[in-house]
Structures are given as structure tokens and as C-alpha cells.
């Protein structure tokens, strides 16, 4: 059968469509705009995007201070080579630098409380717990990088076993962090920064004094350092958990509008 396309077209053309209601179109535009806006708020963002977003809010002075401190430590460690039994200079550097390195991030973590922004941050897009967690993670990773560089440089210069150097580095770091986290858990105000600074000074003073006690850094004392390391690590984990719980308590476990997969 031959198809007469022209005839069919003519027939089909008789099926015209009534004009649409312009009001309905205006309503569609309004609703579409609202739907587009809602989509922007409801959109989930990834973990790395969230982290990079928070990275921008950390003050430049923190990075600058860390770089200056790292360079100073490297300079102090590399000025001369040490014999294995003449390590007091390196331990003194560790005792002063590591608590300072641990302390540097805390004023940044306390920033929200110091400037009275905690309420605003707590009721906006992300929960306080996530904001604090992200900041702590970023600053912790930066600290870990600095410590790795210090460890590599000092182990290479002194020839001391790396495992022992890890203990000498991480025990002061953990102890300072524990002290500052305890402060963070109990004092959520501008004063928190001063208390953290006091904890840092105390740690520097204690560990500097210990660096002059020769027996404390001898091979025979390694067992004690291991015990100290694990105790401080356990305390650190507990304090971290408590600090996170305290953020939740403060803002009554607010239901979030946006969830970030952790």
C-alpha cells in the first residue's frame, strides 16, 4: 500500500492544540526556580570537598607558624652531627618544639568559641561536631607531616633507631594534645586559648627538664617510654572522644540538613 504522506500530514494538522494558560507557565517558572534552589541546599557533598572547604577557613598564620617552627627545628638539628651518646641537644629541641607544634592548632580549633561564633556554626549547614572534626583532622595531618620531616632529619643526623625517635617525639606531642583537649572539653571560651598556652608551656618546661636527665633517654629506659607512649595514646583517644561528645551535648544533637559521609 502506498502511503500518501502529504494527505496524512494534512489530516494530522487538523488536530490542533489549545493555547496554554500563561499563568500556568509563570507558575511553572516560579516552582522550577524554587526546586532549583532546594536542590542546591539538599545536595550532598563528598568528604574531600567538605575537607577542602574547611581548609580554606583555617588561618594562614597557622601554616606560617608551622613552617617557621619546622625550619627552625631542622636548622637546630642539622647544625652539627651528634654522637649517639651526645643527643641531649636533639632532645632539648624536641622538648621545646613538639609541644609547641601540638599547641599551634588549638587556637584555630577554639576560634569559633573565642569569637562567639559557636552558636551560628552550630545551627547552620554542618554540625559543630563535623566542623571540629574536619579542622582537627586537617591540623592533625599537618602536624603529622611536620613530625615525619623532623623524625627523618633527626634520625638521619643522629643515627639513633627510628623507633626510639618516634617515642621521643610522640610522647610530648600526645601529652600536650591530651592537656589541650581536656581544656577544650571544659573551657569553651576565649580563655581556653590561654589555658592551652599554659599547658604547652608546662609541657615544654617538664620535657626540657627531663632532657637534661641523661638516664631518661638511655636505651634501658625505652620500656618506660613505650609504656608512656601507649598510656598517652590511650588518654589522647579518650580525650578526643570526650571532646567530640561535648560538641554534641552543647548543641543537643541537632538534626542536620546536610550529611557528609565519614
Amino acid at each position: 500500500m502506498k502511503i500518501n504522506e502529504r494527505k496524512i500530514r494534512e489530516d494530522l494538522a487538523s488536530f490542533s492544540v489549545p493555547a496554554y494558560d500563561p499563568e500556568k507557565m509563570r507558575e511553572t517558572v516560579q516552582l522550577a526556580k524554587a526546586a532549583y534552589r532546594e536542590r542546591q541546599f539538599a545536595a550532598r557533598i563528598g568528604f574531600w570537598e567538605f575537607l577542602s572547604m574547611q581548609l580554606r577557613f583555617i588561618g594562614k598564620w597557622v601554616w606560617l607558624a608551622q613552617v617557621v617552627l619546622l625550619l627552625s627545628v631542622l636548622l637546630a638539628v642539622s647544625r652539627r652531627s651528634f654522637a649517639v651518646n651526645e643527643m641531649q641537644h636533639v632532645f632539648l629541641v624536641f622538648s621545646c618544639a613538639v609541644p609547641l607544634l601540638a599547641f599551634l592548632g588549638f587556637p584555630e580549633i577554639l576560634k569559633s568559641y573565642a569569637h562567639g561564633m559557636a552558636e551560628i556554626e552550630g545551627c547552620t549547614r554542618f554540625s559543630m561536631r563535623k566542623l571540629m572534626g574536619a579542622r582537627m583532622l586537617i591540623l592533625g595531618l599537618a602536624d603529622l607531616c611536620c613530625m615525619t620531616v623532623i623524625l627523618a632529619a633527626s634520625a638521619a643526623r643522629s643515627g639513633t633507631p627510628v623507633l626510639r625517635m618516634i617515642l621521643y617525639l610522640f610522647v610530648p606531642f600526645n601529652v600536650t594534645c591530651c592537656g589541650c583537649l581536656t581544656v577544650l572539653e571544659h573551657v569553651k571560651s576565649r580563655q581556653g586559648g590561654y589555658f592551652c598556652a599554659a599547658v604547652c608551656v608546662l609541657c615544654i618546661a617538664v620535657f626540657s627538664q627531663l632532657s637534661f636527665v641523661k638516664g631518661f633517654y638511655e636505651t634501658a629506659a625505652t620500656g618506660m617510654w613505650i609504656v608512656l607512649f601507649f598510656c598517652s595514646l590511650a588518654y589522647f583517644a579518650t580525650e578526643l572522644f570526650r571532646a567530640f561528645r561535648s560538641f554534641d551535648r552543647l548543641f543537643c544533637s541537632k538534626q542536620e540538613t546536610l550529611s557528609v559521609p565519614w
Binding site: 500500500m1 488536530f15 496554554y20 517558572v29 532549583y36 532546594e38 545536595a43
Partner: protein, 175 residues
């Protein structure tokens, strides 16, 4: 303005671009929905829902083909869903609506009836191809993309649809 630029503007948060896009395609989508559904209120609702669906899922939209085709796909699926839920509409109600909209007399209404009745007798796939080809004036390549079929399959459906339609309309004329 071409679709690519409009989409880029929408992505950058320009609300007027969304306005432009809706105004550009509203009539086409509405006409398509009307011919699919046969009732003005349904067509308007589905057109609105198609644009809202587009906005809600804007992030998943990737500018590969034409934006218009994507909107037709949404409209087609929405029409299919609505038709599945609804029982078929009596022709009398279409006639009443048509008379109230266009006061052009009973003759035209009868013509509309016969065309619409003929279109209704076509299988769904063929009807969609005919509507998109003859009313929306789309290219076969675009229709193939919308109905998610190959070009040769789309050509075959068009041919079969025309053949059946020709037979049905000729029968109407004879009667």
C-alpha cells in the same frame, strides 16, 4: 541562545537562564503532552512536572545531546506513568473541551475526533514517533534518542505508524 550556553548559565546560578529555558521549550512540551494525554489540564500539569523534574535532577544532567530531547524524554515518561494510572478518557470530554477552547464548529471537532481516534489505535511506540515527527517536527535521529531506540527501528516504527494511520484515515473518509 543555544542550549549549551543556557545550561552553563543555569549551572553558574543564573536564575534568569532557567526562566529563558522554560519559556523556550514550554510550548513544545505542552503540545506534545496535550497530544499524548488529550486534555489541557493534564498536559499543563505534566509539562510543569517535567520542568520541575529537570530542575530537581539538574546535577545528574550532562550536556551530551540536546536539552530539548531530555525534556521530551521526561515528558514521555511522565505521560506514560499518568496514562498507566488513569483509565482512558471518553472522547466526549475531549470534544467538550475542544468546543469550549476553539469555537470553530462541529466539522473540525469531528476531524479532530477521527485523527485522535486513529492515533489512539496506534501502538504506543508508533504513536510517539508519529507525534514527535509530525507535530514536534523533530529529526529522526533526535526521535531515536528520545524513544531510546536505534535509528532503523525508529524509521520502521514511523513507516508502520504511517501505514496504519493511512489505512485508518482512509476508512474514516470512506465512511
Amino acid at each position: 541562545m543555544d542550549d549549551e550556553r543556557l545550561i552553563r548559565r543555569i549551572k553558574s546560578g543564573d536564575k534568569n537562564a532557567l526562566d529563558d529555558l522554560i519559556q523556550k521549550y514550554y510550548n513544545d512540551i505542552y503540545k506534545y503532552c496535550y497530544r499524548k494525554m488529550g486534555r489541557k489540564s493534564d498536559a499543563e500539569d505534566i509539562t510543569q512536572e517535567a520542568f520541575l523534574h529537570f530542575c530537581r535532577n539538574f546535577d545528574s544532567y550532562t550536556q551530551r545531546g540536546k536539552c530539548r530531547n531530555y525534556l521530551y524524554v521526561i515528558a514521555r515518561n511522565l505521560c506514560a506513568n499518568t496514562l498507566q494510572k488513569k483509565t482512558s478518557l471518553p472522547l466526549s470530554s475531549i470534544k467538550e473541551e475542544y468546543l469550549s477552547e476553539n469555537d470553530t464548529g462541529l466539522k473540525q471537532v469531528d476531524a479532530v475526533d477521527s485523527v485522535q481516534a486513529a492515533l489512539k489505535q496506534l501502538p504506543e511506540e508508533q504513536r510517539t514517533v508519529i507525534l514527535l515527527r509530525f507535530y514536534q517536527d523533530l529529526k529522526l535521529k533526535d526521535i531515536a534518542q528520545i524513544v531510546d531506540a536505534g535509528l532503523s527501528v525508529t524509521k520502521y516504527r514511523l513507516y508502520q505508524g504511517l501505514k496504519t494511520l493511512s489505512k485508518l484515515l482512509l476508512k474514516e473518509d470512506w465512511l
